[in-house]
Amino acid sequence: MTKLNVNGRVHEVQVDPDTPLLWVIREQLGMTGTKYGCGIAQCGACTVQIDGQAVRSCSMPVSAVTPAQKITTIEGLSAASTHPLQQAWVALDVPQCGYCQSGMLMAAATLLAANPKPTEAEIRENITNICRCGTYNRVIAGIKRAADATARRG
């Protein structure tokens, strides 16, 4: 049995230890917000947080995660889509097809947690996720908007 703490809940799963965390989240735990895009940590569609750090879960064997580590997926980013980034995404109509956006949001949330007021250059350097629809400019605008909203709230 493998124990995983995902979105504040402890799950026990029976799984081959080599299985990437992505597939455990999607299949054994049934949370499909985290996406498969490339399987080689290139595209970032599978991005989740482990203890607050952005991790590309397609290339992280589940055996490398300890029961004490806290995993956050898109489903756990907020209880009711109220994270400032989610609100900004809706306000600016950021997604097109939307497939990459869970990963984008998790990468952006990680950036803002470490750097609440990133410059545009910092955003461009930090968010390396691929979006084929081409939402990059709205992602940048969304991160800035979320940062501003958070700053206003103090």
Binding site: D18, E27, T32, K35, I74, E125, Y136
Partner: protein
């Protein structure tokens, strides 16, 4: 109606039996064109769908309006745009509008009441706007009629706003939701009598409204094809022979079958092996343990250099299909005071949708159900019917949200595979998901072409003669050769065509010849977002820039002088030049480049602002873009499509290239098939300038001007011409 229904059904059955899904889609389209647009009127609603006022509109008792959508939403915003058009004529409350996909099986049963399901060619809105608006208008008329009958007053005395009908004289009011049942029984109006609102009076259409499908995309709830879960469902991974045309010779599944979770190892068609397991990762890893011997066939010896040589030969071949001709190009070139010549080339590209190909199927002896992200529900239905051995009426396509399409999901190979797998496990739902590697190896690739451009200048430095010889692949020859016209593929000339209302060559050149030496490699071609407009705009707009430079003329003025016969193309060109500050001082080291073309019925232009370091590093600072799509149904979504088009177009320009080795593609993932990321994304300013009177598409045309605008700016910065894409082949040190 009876005649239409039976004709559709006959065409459907013939096509699905004999020719397969793609041809079916074409034959449907032609048949629809022959019959005129689909009726906006209701026939009996199908058992699988909610009660309706007519085919397009369902109003629930709580006043929620469900607009039925036939085209597929893959990020391009057509779901929202089409709903706006229906809601506009329905006069309902936009805040209460939701959508649902129409069923392809129902469409077949009801004489194609929803028309064409094919979602490509930037056609979603431009080709269905009239009949979906009539659908909304007919529903409004039926609701009004129901109110008039209920109140026993003339319809003319009623007013309607946001789904509330009022009768002023008696101060009565009633909402659509309370009338829906009665309205459904009203005799539908004659489609010919329906008057549509003038776009200048639009209240819902034409407005930059937020998309209807955003909320679930920010919290992980949006269910894509790859996310479907069904009770008892198993998961499959697949590997087809990497060499195009190759087959399975034999396979040994013993080791794979011994692995955990594995249920079955099956051959799929002639060329693929799939492993079905409890979980996908088990299937994927077990597949690697299947010992497959391929019969790679004759293509196993084909190298990229062979294909390049095949295309190079076509540049000077005597036989070619003529796509556009005026005057006498040979004579004009012979008389020219000065000649300019250059050869350009554009490689194979993979769509690389973020969501790899997938489909989920369950087969029984009685029926077949498929859940899939598809750009054409009807083509999926035909593929499911053909693979299942059932009649189409026994099959159902459950359209799922698409994680990108870009043309790839018009093909139905993944549907065929999923059904062929499910058929070997009756009653068990099986989800087939391709790996990224499978997706890269078995794309339907952007066709490869090369072009020899020859221009003749007269004594005034004006472009007097032009010969564009295209050599290379025809998509139509690859997928539906029966659609060729005496061998000619007219789609090769997108953007270079003589007349028409979609892809007209805009420049006025006295002696003109644009022809195509068809050279078809073994690589399966496909419609890749923008299709042939992409390379044609690259050839045309970079070469025009060269000719202007050789003539010693300003690149804008040179184009303007040639565009007097194409005022709308001129207008978008002028718009970007003015907004970007063409001819005005720029920051040190910054240079501008222009491109303009007509495609998919719209006029588009771009002006790129670029700097190139001495070491050759390109930085695209900003792109100013203009689009005249005739009517703009949602300007905000058009702007989003324009922004995204630069990412798609510049990904191809900078990095995109698939190359052939031993008959198969060499690039298998994003590490070797790089795409543009955020650090390279330029600012985009989008000018949406609808001039009215026509309907153009917006999902694709702007892609075509991305590369030439940037490359022309790179020339201005470095003096270096980039004639072979992708750009990474050219050393821009200067």
């Amino acid at each position: 109606m009876t005649h239409i229904a039976s004709a559709s059904r006959r065409g459907f059955l013939q096509a699905s039996a004999a020719l397969g899904a793609f041809t079916l889609a074409i034959s449907f389209t032609e048949e629809a064109a022959a019959q005129g647009t689909p009726s906006a009127l209701a026939t009996a609603p199908g058992a699988t769908m909610a009660p309706e006022i007519n085919a397009w509109v369902v109003v629930k008792p709580d006043d929620t309006v469900v607009v039925r959508i036939a085209r597929s939403e893959m990020g391009q915003g057509t779901l929202t745009g089409l709903a706006q058009l229906v809601a506009e004529e329905l006069d309902c409350d936009w805040a209460k509008v939701t959508t649902e996909y129409a069923s392809a099986t129902e469409n077949l049963r009801r004489g194609r009441v929803w028309g064409d399901f094919s979602t490509g060619g930037s056609r979603g809105i431009r080709e269905s706007n009239e009949y979906v608006r009539k659908g909304g208008a007919a529903a409004r008329m039926m609701l009004l009629q129901a109110a008039a009958e209920g109140w026993k007053v003339p319809v003319a005395e009623l007013a309607v706003d946001k789904g509330i009908i009022t009768h002023g004289r008696t101060s009565r009011r009633i909402s659509y939701g309370k009338l829906a049942a009665a309205a459904a029984r009203v005799t539908p109006p004659d489609a010919a009598t329906i008057r549509l609102r003038d776009p200048k009076d639009w209240k819902i259409a034409g407005k930059p409204l937020p998309r209807l499908d955003t909320r679930d995309k920010v919290n992980g709830k949006q269910v894509y094809g790859a996310d479907i879960k069904l009770p008892g469902m198993l998961n499959a991974a697949i590997r087809a022979c990497p060499v195009f045309g190759g087959k399975v010779a034999s396979f040994d599944a013993a080791a794979a079958l011994a692995r955990p979770g594995v249920k079955k190892v099956v051959q799929v068609g002639e060329n693929a092996i799939a492993v079905v397991a409890e979980h996908w990762w088990q299937a994927k890893t077990a597949l690697e343990a299947v010992n497959i011997t391929w019969d790679e066939g004759p293509n196993a010896h084909v190298q990229q250099a062979d294909i390049d040589a095949m295309l190079a030969e076509g540049l000077d071949a005597t036989q070619a299909f003529i796509g556009n001709r005026a005057g006498d190009a040979a004579e004009g070139l012979a008389k020219a005071v000065r000649k300019v010549e250059a050869t350009y080339s554009f490689p194979f590209q993979n769509h690389a949708t973020m969501e790899p190909m997938n489909a989920t199927a369950v087969w029984t002896a009685e029926r077949c159900d498929v859940w899939c992200p598809t750009q054409n529900g009807e083509a999926s239905l035909a593929a499911a019917a053909a693979a299942s051995g059932h009649r189409p009426q026994q099959c159902e396509i459950h359209k799922m949200h698409l994680g990108g399409g870009f043309g790839r999901r018009g093909w139905q190979d993944f549907v065929t595979q999923a059904v062929l797998i499910a058929k070997q496990m009756p009653g068990t739902p099986v989800k087939l998901l391709w790996t990224r590697e499978e997706d890269m190896l078995h794309g339907r690739f952007h066709p490869i072409t090369t072009a020899k451009m020859t221009a003749g200048l007269d004594a005034d430095g004006k472009l007097a003669a032009l010969h564009i010889r295209i050599s290379g692949q025809s998509i139509v020859a690859g997928i539906a050769p029966q659609m060729l016209q005496n061998g000619l593929d007219s789609r090769v000339f997108q953007g270079l065509a003589q007349g028409g209302n979609e892809f007209t060559f805009g420049y006025g050149v006295r002696d003109l010849l644009i022809d195509h030496a068809m050279r078809n490699p073994h690589v399966p071609p496909g419609f890749w977002r923008g299709v042939n407009l992409n390379q044609n705009a690259f050839y045309q707009e970079c070469f025009i820039d060269e000719v202007a430079h050789e003539a010693g003329k300003d690149a804008l003025a040179f184009r303007q002088a040639l565009l007097s016969g194409a005022p709308k193309q001129l207008a978008v060109l002028n718009a970007v030049a003015e907004r970007a500050g063409w001819g005005k001082p720029l920051p040190a080291g910054h240079f501008l480049g222009l491109a303009a073309i007509m495609g998919y019925g719209s006029y588009v232009a771009a002006c790129a602002e670029v700097s190139v370091s001495r070491a050759g590093e390109v930085k695209v600072h900003k792109i100013t873009a203009a689009t005249d799509p005739g009517h703009a149904v949602n300007p905000q979504q058009i702007a989003a499509q324009v922004e995204g088009s630069f990412v798609y177009g510049l990904s191809a320009a900078f990095y995109g290239e698939c190359t052939v080795k031993d008959g198969h593609m060499e690039q298998e993932n994003f590490d070797t098939y790089q795409v543009m990321r955020m650090d390279e994304m330029p600012a985009v300013e989008s000018i949406v300038m609808p001039s009215g009177g026509f309907w153009g598409g917006v999902g694709e045309p702007t892609i075509a001007v991305a590369a030439p605008a940037v490359l022309n700016a790179i020339f201005a910065a470095t003096g270096k011409r980039v004639r072979r894409l992708p750009l990474r082949h050219t050393d821009l040190k200067h």
